[in-house]
Symmetry: C2
Subunit: 312 residues, 2 copies
């Protein structure tokens, strides 16, 4: 599992980064790791150099089970490399890429704050907000709204199987925000009392849709049926070059997900924990607006940004 | 908690019935209990007689936390009493009511079989069926389809918080039906692969909508968005005289359901288990057809039947 070009283990480095700083976001850790690869490699030709970086990126994606957000970070870095490689020699490209990567890592931390700043005017006094699962960017936005002395209430979905909603509820209580956890099956029941829905994203795709914790898609369907605004929050480095055509067209898809069992003693708990999907895809028609550090966007605005970035 | 008119305890009798025969349906147990009340009472005037029976019915409803299906049984019985009281004296009314009640209890057992018979043509070879939670009438229909050598697959929702879907999955495995449990949050994910949705009902209301285990409503919304047929199964004695205007207009509604918490240490597990709704209301526009022992009906057909029954 070591990347070509030496004894440096990109996967180990990546896991170290995440372990040392639990608040680091995965695309940022991925870019940091690839910067390290670039620093360590000793390629003499441009094609060798690019091959090493691409291989390391592939190793990293594979080792993280093709995580959408790791892929997003890798893709941003590879695109940067492709752009820099056109004009320059190996040495210059190497230095420029390291500096671009470090710059990305430095500014990425601010992205979450920018999203919170851009999104917070949408949270108003006396609103009831429904959030799904645990998302750092949502917690950031709600934290900012509390600091602005806004008073609002939050419903949080339990978000099985890992019950990550409970973590969000705990944090909200500490912030002094009245909140309550809601069964994943009770979203339809509660939607009538909700003023707006906020979700985070693992990745925002080229269609303008988003990939996020399982349950996001049905939340969006239910919100649309009840004509409630559905806002997604995402840092721009989560934009990924994917165009899923269905729920089963995601990089995390495995054919044994939700496979039918027909004999013997089946441990249903294991099925729920391990053989159910962890992510789903929400098509753009269900998303009212996206709050990103590039501004408030419609789903089609995201497509435009992505095309611009990758055509540059 | 004893009903007026003697030492007979209608609530205790009801709970005994349910404990002795776990397969008894609640409306049937309620009617059986009220028959016993009628047998035990010693009223001398018609008005006293009706007062005793109405009081017993009220005590029973209250003791079962206004359970929709117990209410359904009680309402059928009270309607029968009102009808018989018009023409006859106390003695005759008493005897006729006992005989009508016993007759109801005897034939009720067949209703579930009739629903299975009427619904089973809708299950065809090679279909993928999504069911919600555990429902005896659905298990009856699927059992019949298996006996007819139909081959199909079933997705079952986990149906938190009591995880009743796991019980359904166990029974289906024993019947040799390939099945898999699905997170309550993964219904949107899986709907594309589903051919039809089957749900049971605690009660079918005057609008033609239904009251059932929480999650049914959002299942129906998601099915409609994916243009999949959504069939509800219900014995006709589950038709109830209710016209809910929203989710919060059900007899089981409590104001502390999903109340916001704003301080201290909250046990979220308790919130999920005890302060989340157990039932929700699915409006008629989401229901494709209802399979009942009176035949296959549209939601508006149910309204007609209910009006007919209570106007008679």
């Amino acid at each position: 599992m070591t990347a070509q070009g030496g004894a440096f283990d990109v996967v180990e480095y990546y896991h170290d980064l995440v372990a040392k700083d639990p608040s680091i976001s995965m695309p940022v850790a991925a870019v940091s790791s690839l910067v390290k690869v670039v620093e360590q490699q000793r390629a003499t030709t441009m094609s060798e150099f690019m091959k090493i970086v691409r291989a390391a990126s592939e190793v990293l994606k594979e080792a993280t089970h093709r995580s959408i957000s790791v892929s997003a970070g890798c893709d941003v870095f590879l695109q940067q490399m492709a752009r820099l490689s056109h004009a320059q020699g190996v040495e210059e490209c190497r230095d420029a890429l390291i500096s671009a990567g470090n710059n990305f890592v430095m500014t990425a931390g601010q992205c979450r704050d920018q999203v919170a700043e851009i999104g917070s005017p949408f949270v108003r006094d006396d609103q009831t907000i429904l959030i799904h699962s645990y998302s750092r960017v949502i917690m950031g936005l709600l934290h900012r709204a509390v600091k602005q002395n806004k008073r609002f209430r939050v419903y949080v979905t339990e978000s099985r199987p890992d019950k990550s909603g409970l973590r969000a509820a705990d944090e909200l209580l500490k912030l002094g925000v009245p909140c309550e956890v809601v069964l994943d099956a009770a979203v339809g029941y509660i939607m009538e009392k909700v003023d707006l829905v906020l979700v985070g994203a693992e990745g925002v795709v080229e269609s303008g849709g988003l990939i996020n914790k399982v349950g996001t898609y049905q939340l969006a369907i239910i919100a649309k049926a009840a004509k409630k605004p559905f806002y997604a929050l995402a840092e721009s480095y989560k934009f990924v070059r994917l165009y899923p055509l269905s729920q089963y067209d995601l990089p995390t898809y495995r054919s044994d997900l939700l496979a039918f069992k027909d004999s013997g003693n089946v441990d249903w708990q294991t099925e729920l924990q391990e053989n159910n999907p962890t992510l789903d895809y929400t098509p753009p028609e269900y998303i009212t607006l996206l709050f990103t550090d590039l501004g408030v966007m419609t789903p089609s605005g995201v497509s435009d940004e992505l095309i611009k970035f990758y055509l540059d």
